[in-house]
Subunit: 428 residues, 2 copies
């Protein structure tokens, strides 16, 4: 079938016509970042489209040039879901061969808008004012709880009643590709059991996703779960790097701190809820029935395939070490948002909420080395080398994508690209 | 003695010639907030001073008009301690009768700069990007620990080794005077012990101070404790409103969340470390000796008197219910900052770090109702009414000030003003 689009999009591309994610990029050796989307092997310069007047539908017509001339997506996110939807639809239309436009017809303009994705660099798409991390996978919470408190006390009594979460550090959220320096801190010496200062010996990743808040709420006015979808702009991949030994020593009674706040990596493209709509599925059965403020729709989960690859420092090929799926998550995004605000806490545009580690029900679907290696006691083998935790020079790559069954000759793929990070040695 | 100043400053004023705090205010019915200082009963419009060219010393001469035309102090804070010090000294000089300037000599200019403090409203002085709350008072940690885990397990083993802290919610930090809505959430029913949804029954305050970061650090590069003073711009009063019943249900294992993030109030004026320098005192003896990265100077504590007043909804006069002092705090600001960054975590201009509740060693120096009433079991009496926790319409007022002994006929007072908040009924 001839492509109906003005650019070729490989079937395997995460950035299909159905996706149209949003991010912020810059061209190498040029300082000013700009809002962008992606299609196939190209990024789409939204600033150029806007300045040329191509956002010509009612909501964005007058404001697109200023909204998309900003260096973050913050102004765009503040507009709300009807505008997000209109922007996505406008971009889709402009990509159609059947739609006459300077993008289709003017080669010079086209080359200023469609830029090969290999030639750009990514930036944080929004200023992240607040970052929260939930703990919403029952499998993960059970696995970790069993390790530290025994099988019978694995889940805390509160866990089945509320999406447990905590505040993370917003300043150290970084874009995919940013190297992470191995942290140092106090931890218990495994032999003497005394606290000693030194570099982290149990550096781990956590396979997570995160939703980005589009429209916030006023302090004191909760977001009703029925409206949660209108407040969430979209979703990214998230790697919550974790220093297990530092975390273990510090976390009682106030929770994780230095064990987490040295870096959290996110993927550069925010995939909108509209793009994810075809992949909504029923969430896991919740027993006991949650409180009324946590009762959302019946299909509030998303079927998103997730993989973890580890590229050991001594090898050249990443090896897949886990395959999970967001649909295993017990507490939905909507429940997380309703819970976060039920006490009146105010969300702001650009706030990031991580899901917590997404572990599945099987041994090959665990979302952290902590779980895979049973806290370092059972090494895994990666490309003929053995790992308990992450070593210097290792790279961790998380990927996520949705795929529908082929039907009527069409298979829809909407992907997140990847979030990667390589570990640098600790400072001496 | 005749005052050497161009304005009268009452002896009891927090905003003495020695203070020169920094904040952001606006004049009622005028929209644009501006940077300000305070002297006696007046605020000092720094934008007007700057535009008139009165910051005429080397560091600020060229940049003061743009720095002080901003609507927050963020640009000013980024400049670093030599500039903060120069600004304070310039303002002090301009207040001297002996120094000829338009402020002294031009009545019109003077009335545009010195504005009666009763006629202004306060704003958050900086955009707070990240808020951390420590737990640095040994008395408080011991009192609370004993209540929930018994006297023998009161302090967790990590507590004497590190300044335990956690990430708070930056978005809900509000300026003094902002009403706080009683939060609702899940808590355990005291009779059935089952989780129930409803409004908080154990609403509390926490008497804290907080330091505001002036100059941050790059991700991956810790702040050495010897340089911590140069990164801290100044100090405010902080009330960490706490919903004890919500907190109690949610906080294991990831720490406080909805029990805290519905509101945190700070005082409007940031008092600089330079103004606090005369009040430095030795911190409490630390046993065991902390790790090297936590070894600061010998006089890293500050002697700051603190009081808590409660104005019950049914009364007209605030009653003092606690008198404490920041010098009781075990872990110093410098230790908190060194700890926070030792793993490479990056601080940003405007970040706020709360001390945790500052309880003293005696029953009249407790920093929370949780401690004063033994978790609501022993009511206190305020102006002939009984209180276990805060009721709707109650107002909590925290105050702080430093005072030196009289010497050579002069007594120095440097105060923080107050942070107040009144509790509004829960949403129905
Ligand atoms: Ca996590
Ligand atoms: Ca606190
Ligand atoms: Mg992290
Ligand atoms: Mg609070
Ligand atoms: Ni002068």
């Amino acid at each position: 079938m001839t492509s109906p689009l003005i650019v070729d999009v490989p079937d395997s591309s995460d950035f299909s016509f159905h996706n149209i994610p949003f991010g912020v990029v810059s061209i190498e050796n040029s300082s000013q970042p700009f809002p962008a989307s992606a299609i196939g092997e190209f990024v789409i310069n939204l600033r150029e489209l806007a300045v040329a007047g191509l956002f010509d539908r009612p909501l964005l017509r007058d404001i697109a040039p200023s909204v998309f001339s900003a260096t973050t997506l913050t102004l765009f996110l503040q507009l709300g879901r009807p505008s997000w939807r209109e922007a996505r639809q406008t971009i889709q239309t402009l990509l159609l061969k059947s739609h006459p436009s300077p993008l289709r017809d003017d080669p010079n303009f086209r080359s200023s808008v469609l830029i090969p994705i290999y030639s750009i660099q990514h930036h944080l798409p929004v200023r992240i004012s607040n970052y929260t991390d939930f703990y919403a996978s029952k499998e993960h919470a059970t696995n970790v709880g069993a390790m530290f408190r025994g099988k019978d006390n694995a889940l805390m009594p509160n866990w089945v009643h509320i999406p447990v979460g905590y505040h993370g550090r917003a300043s150290s959220v970084v874009i995919s590709g940013t190297p992470i320096t191995r942290p140092s801190g106090l931890r218990l010496d495994p032999v003497t059991k005394a606290p000693v200062f030194g570099k982290c010996q149990k550096l781990d990743f956590e396979l997570e996703m995160g939703f980005v808040v589009g429209v916030g709420n006023e302090l004191g006015k909760p977001i009703n779960i029925k409206n949660a979808d209108d407040h969430i702009f979209g979703v990214v991949l998230l790697n919550d790097w974790s220093a297990r030994d530092i975390q273990q020593f510090e976390y009682v009674p106030l929770g994780p701190f230095l064990g987490k706040n040295f870096g959290t990596s996110i993927s550069p493209w925010i995939v909108t809820l509209d793009a994810l709509e075809p992949f909504r599925v029923a969430q896991p059965t919740q027993e006991p029935t949650p409180a009324e403020y946590l009762q959302g729709g019946s299909k509030d989960a998303y079927d998103i395939n997730l993989t973890v690859q580890l590229k050991a420092s001594t090898t050249t090929t990443p090896q897949t070490i886990s395959q999970s799926n967001l649909k295993y998550m017990y507490w939905t995004f909507n429940q997380q948002l309703a819970h976060h605000t039920v006490n009146g806490c105010n969300m702001q545009t650009g706030d990031l909420c991580g899901t917590g580690t997404i572990s599945g029900p099987t041994p090959d679907s665990l979302g952290s080395l902590l779980e895979m290696t049973q806290n370092g006691t059972q090494p895994i083998t990666v490309d003929a080398v053995s790992r308990t935790f992450i070593e210097d020079g290792d790279e961790v790559i998380l990927r996520g994508w949705c795929e529908s069954e082929e039907s009527a000759g069409e298979k829809i793929r909407v992907g997140f690209g990847e979030v990667t990070g390589i570990i640098r040695p600790a400072r001496s």
